[in-house]
Symmetry: C2
Subunit: 345 residues, 2 copies
């Protein structure tokens, strides 16, 4: 298998640039840690992860993992919902973490404006020169020209897990932060290991009239990220994302010949829920596909840190790789939209 992997050439992917930009991202560690020092010194009562669409789904892993490993109150909130109903737990001592690659996501910019006006701190992962960057008091701009999700994840993990360290809840942060230097090399190799399968899967299901996607725990956000931001928005493919537990209360009845089920299988305590979906699909002889993160080795990190990078594996394999292979078969340009951001609404 190793031999095959080494020879694999990824379609639509610039390996050299990927690694080079990854290196550049890693050099920003000290910049992010300076923000950690500042925030930790000031103190904060709770943390809000403010996103919408892709950023909301990307933050979900941190919400899950922080809730699991820390006593801090952390909330993931959709920016439109925050604008509609200002969360009662959001107060002057809160810390708001947000992100927008474009810097002009309307709901987030609107939210950041009133949040900053109320004197609440915002750390934004965005362009310094964009609308969001001009509003937030703390801005971290990624030194890259390409938008791989894992670039954001590495930067955000310096911030979020760095804050847990300062709370005395993640003593091994330094080791973790040292070890994730190898993230991009690992994720490149993992991509190669998955590449032939990405082709096979995309070829099999790209034209299904309706595809069910299940996920859970730290990977529920990734499930939404792939199904909504890639398949719905960028591929116009009809999908039904559903949690592994809710799948059994409605969606299961939709399975029939021609309706594939794609199971995203993680490694946390929710794995048994994913396995239940898998065993059910096997039992009824459904057409199903499993992406089991356990299949993929991530070298150079201690086993205890693995749960923190599992979502990064999924984002590399689905939101990046499988997306590219869908595009091959659908011939639907990933950049083309008919409605989203095409006019005022």
């Amino acid at each position: 298998m190793v031999e095959i992997t080494e020879k694999v050439e990824l379609i639509k992917f610039d390996e050299e640039k990927y690694l080079k930009e990854g290196e550049s991202i890693y050099t920003q560690r000290s910049e992010v840690e300076a923000v950690v020092d500042k925030i930790a010194k000031e103190g904060y009562s709770n943390i809000f992860l403010l996103g919408i669409g892709g950023t909301e789904f990307e933050f979900a892993q941190f919400e899950y993992l922080v809730k699991k490993n820390s006593t801090v109150e952390i909330y993931s909130i959709n920016a439109a919902d925050a604008n509609t109903q200002r969360p009662r737990e959001l107060n002057k001592d809160s810390l708001v973490i947000t992100a927008s690659a474009s810097g002009n996501t309307v709901e987030i910019v609107e939210a950041a404006k009133w949040i900053v006006e109320e004197g609440i701190r915002v750390v934004a992962f965005t362009k310094k020169s964009g609308p969001l960057g001009k509003v937030a008091q703390n801005v971290i701009e990624a030194n890259v020209t390409t938008g791989q999700c894992e670039y954001s994840y590495v930067l955000q993990s310096f911030l979020i897990y760095g804050l847990l360290n300062k709370r005395g809840e993640f003593d091994k942060y330094e080791k973790f932060a040292d070890q994730i230097k190898g993230t991009f090399k690992n994720l490149l190799e993992i991509r190669k290991a998955f590449e032939p399968r990405a082709d096979t899967i995309a070829k099999s299901i790209y034209d299904a009239p309706y595809t069910i996607f299940t996920g859970s725990g730290s990977l529920w956000g990734e499930t939404l990220l792939f199904t909504m931001c890639i398949l719905e928005e960028m591929q116009w493919v009809r999908t039904r994302p559903v949690t592994s537990s809710q799948f059994f209360h409605g969606t299961l009845e939709l399975i029939e010949p021609g309706v594939p089920v794609f199971i995203i299988k993680g490694e946390d305590e929710f794995r048994k829920q994913d396995t239940r979906v898998e065993e059910f699909c096997k039992k009824i002889n459904a057409e199903y596909y499993v992406l089991d993160t356990q299949e993929f080795a991530f070298d150079g990190i201690d086993p205890e840190f693995r749960e923190l990078i599992v979502p990064w594996i999924v984002t590399s394999l689905l939101t990046e790789r499988l997306a590219a292979h869908y595009e091959v078969y659908t011939k639907h340009n990933l950049q083309y939209r008919r409605y989203y951001r095409q006019f005022e609404y």
Copy 2:
């Protein structure tokens, strides 16, 4: 319109029985209020609404409305997820409210067992003689033979809003509880007003290959209840439930001729999000349908109580009425399942 309404005969509906069972439900007010007195006297640190599938979606209105109108910490939790990851906020002083019409929903029975073993109070709306009824310390069994959601809602509102009253957060509870005596007569008349439209809508979209449903705020639970429990489980209709805010971050791109959008439009602060979906659909000339709860009068209650009964209007019109009309056209028996509860999984 009144004249037409009065003459309408509801299909597949026994009006007399509906009203009679409604009267029976209302007589249980004092029984539920005795539980309220007991729990309030004992005190509690927070409230968990424990459900799965239908019960989870039915409880969502209470989570939303309690969060809005009370300072008590309230959590809505999926029973399978609770079993997988016991919530850290759940402790000996917590109050758990759950429900299961059958009394044998496996995930809920499993959860109730360990929760009771840990010495935590459970109030269950279920049969006294069923597995859940035998586990919970407090059981409220509805005195009815038919399972209209609003029967549960009235009983649950005596409990939940009764508890808010004891906290000094709902002084007008007595008046509210008096006034909702007219719930069933109101919901019968509202059904009649909607009946011709239920037929028209079902006829138009029952065979769509894929239908998008949006909802928000106090009606997001009802959106899931109708799409998952009725359309997916009982009608095998491919649906895509999505919140009015998330709709704009992926799902909107799926709209094309033949893909209807069904907009559930409520009356709370999220209404503007629903309206945004409606205006978008109008702008792009989509095939869309709006169920606007504001259209329906509910007599005999003070305006300030209306937000509490808006979800009950939706459940009557969609989960009960529109379901019956879908069945007419799909010819798919609402009682038939191929997988759900048909074998071990």
